[in-house]
Symmetry: C2
Subunit: 208 residues, 2 copies
DNA sequence: GTTTAAATCAAACAACCGTTTAACTGCTTT
DNA sequence: AAAGCAGTTAAACGGTTGTTTGATTTAAAC
């Protein structure tokens, strides 16, 4: 069975997101995935390499989406911002467990390799968004803003909702255990909010 | 010596922020604080109770600041927003290690007591900010916005910068090991950005 | 100077950690 | 039928974990 690897990765993702990397034992993962303890070393080599495999596995999905968006010459900067938010919110809310791991572990993780890997992924995404805003500024439709913090604000809002899922479910009266309902209600809310926010923030007409 | 307790708390804070709760051993903390291993159990009872003591210790500082701000009747909603951002950014950037622990551990921590404690603190802060925005809306100077996500955006931006300190230092060309320089450059940047952002986002004249 | 209690310490505790071992399965290839 | 091999297993490995013990020091109270 080839999908036993995937099964282990899914279990690891759920447990890392819930209890953290150090808070999750290999025995936890094996038990959750219903495989023998030794299989994890057998398939992945070590717990740390399992995390690397998980990051590679999940990152490969979205790789290239942003690049495509940026190459589309027909879209105006405003359209690109809208598309960008749609893509990003979908991606992160649908994979919030993975996003949780990624943001929790950049400061925590000891391995230089993994930290660099995560940083590289974040910077790559960052550069793509920067391009869109730069284009809008060149076309005189976006005003001058603090680039790093504008991106940080979008990312941060998503991270905030993701990392404190149960808190935001409580605040917004969503059942946190109803995955389907969470996505249905949360995704359009966040999309609408971020679009409004950036529309007001970036519009050259709102120059202070 | 009474301040040996404080010394342990400081060491625990630094190590928890850097390596996470589960990634830090009691021996690490004892070594860093220069005290005997057994002193931690002696003073705090257990590692988990040490974390609770740390949260209580640091939370007591800022408790009440928001309440005072809200009671000040002379300030307009816009002034309150500005004051709020000043207070918040100072508080969080100056205590970024603690903020790091607080955000990292809400999803991770297993103990129901601690999770409830953190959630309560967050919700209390949340309610205070909500009050300010509500007042501005009643006075017809703020437009209607998604309350939860507007607050989440402010918190999230700060969390983003805090949790990915080294990434944002790299992006903004700040030496991440120079604490003084980090604060001097980062604090005004974040304050200015958040004020601009909220000004555009909340202003009733920018109704879409 | 004796008493009493708090503070400190090295050592030991059992439990758990990530990883490895070596035996054993089922299945394909010769 | 024998050989080979990936998949699977229970058991064991050495090391680390959080916590406790019991002896020893310190310092204040009488």
């Amino acid at each position: 069975m080839k999908d036993k690897r995937v099964h282990i990765l899914d279990s690891a993702e759920a447990l890392f997101a819930e209890k953290g990397f150090d808070g999750t034992s290999v025995r936890d993962i094996a038990g959750h995935a219903g495989v023998n303890l030794a299989m994890i070393s057998y398939y992945f080599g070590s717990k740390e390499k399992l995390l690397v495999a998980l990051i590679a596995h999940r990152s490969s999905y979205t790789h290239g989406i942003l690049e495509e968006l940026n190459k589309d010459e027909k879209l105006s900067p405003w359209n690109k911002i809208e598309r960008l938010i749609d893509l990003y919110v979908d991606k992160i809310v649908n994979n919030y467990k993975f996003h949780c791991i990624m943001t929790m572990h950049l400061p925590t993780i000891q391995s230089d390799d993994i930290r660099e890997m995560i940083t590289d992924i974040k910077i790559r995404n960052f550069e793509q968004i920067k391009k869109i805003i730069n284009e809008g500024q060149k076309n005189k439709v976006f005003r001058k803003v603090d680039m790093e913090l504008t991106v940080g604000c979008v990312m941060g809002t998503l991270t905030q909702v993701t990392l404190s899922k149960s808190l935001y479910c409580r605040l917004m009266h969503i059942d946190k255990n109803d995955e389907e309902g969470y996505r249905e209600k949360m995704i359009p809310k966040i999309k609408a909010h971020l679009k409004e926010l950036l529309k007001a923030h970036l519009d050259i007409k709102n120059q202070n």
